[in-house]
Symmetry: C2
Subunit: 189 residues, 2 copies
């Protein structure tokens, strides 16, 4: 039996995207965003939703660029910190002991210590209400060599990303392998 | 040291949204979508990206409604199946042994056996290229009583959702609790 719990923004899983930008003065900033995901395969795009009063929002409109760094479990504290303080009031990279790396492809920095980054150019925005949905074309993905599999793709078990649970307001690791996609369903077909 | 792996649509985690629709004849259909996420807090919105040739895409434009059912681990086979067959050629609910439940709030069905569903009205679409990004306002969320916590919120450990790894093309469970959000970062602040 299902119970109505109202119009809440609860899905599983939601990501922990660490969005990197430069402000007008060139100071690198990061913030955590859980509202987002891949939005198009070609051109490859990733979408993030931000409130208009966010420092990161201003920065993206100004530079038309952002990065999405994917943190690993060991950096859950730094990732969370980036979501509870504004870049208007703090140098979050410095406070968190993280290294801003200047992208050579887009006008935004990424987090050197995190294992993966998507470098993005702003291509579309939609004002949905409290949040504006920003789509960035993924110009390149860069991955630590230590977390690549033999085929040169990131290995989720080495990247050790984590996820956000919006109902319990908590972070969880990735669990066990369940099944091969586009495959296990063939048993029904 | 980071290596460029090209402009790929790889982030962690991506969801496994089971999108429910009715076709013109009133036949209920489902498909799996990994490109999507929450997109706005108020009005509460969820976003899914679909290719224009998808049956589900036609259905959503026609009815201006869809549901997002969240499957649990035990239904990984049915979820995968819904992503590898078109509703043009099959009654996927019947084949997968799932029950279509008519939403009383939006013109779309959801999966009775899955523990959670978001009932959505189409409010915005953006053509990004290969995919069109569709935003639905979340009119209600319904959750199996057996997976609610004492406060009436879904408990991720009872829902047992799973995630899609686009690099390894595989499904993974949710792992261990790591930290409280908007909290663990205070140690840095």
């Amino acid at each position: 039996m299902k119970r109505s719990i109202g119009a809440k923004t609860i899905v599983y899983p939601t990501p922990v995207f660490i969005v990197g930008t430069y402000d007008k003065a060139g100071k690198p900033d990061i913030m955590a965003a859980a509202w987002g995901g891949i939005s198009c395969s070609n051109p490859p795009c990733v979408s993030i939703s931000l409130q208009k009063h966010r420092y990161t929002y201003e920065n993206i409109l100004e530079r038309e660029a952002f990065t999405v760094s994917i943190p690993s479990e060991e950096h859950v504290m730094e990732a969370d910190y980036s979501g509870i303080v504004s870049g208007r009031n703090a140098d979050k990279f410095e406070k968190a002991g993280l290294t801003p790396v200047k992208s050579e492809l887009v006008d935004a920095p990424y987090v050197g210590e995190f294992p993966m980054v998507l470098e993005c150019k702003l291509v579309h925005k939609a004002d949905l209400g409290m949040h504006v949905q920003l789509n960035g074309e993924i110009i390149d993905v860069k991955v630590d060599e230590s977390v690549l599999d033999p085929d040169g793709n990131p290995d989720i078990k080495k990247v050790k990303p984590f996820l956000y649970d919006p109902a319990g307001r908590a972070y969880y690791s990735i669990g066990k392998y369940l099944a091969k996609a586009f495959n296990v369903g063939k048993e029904i077909k």
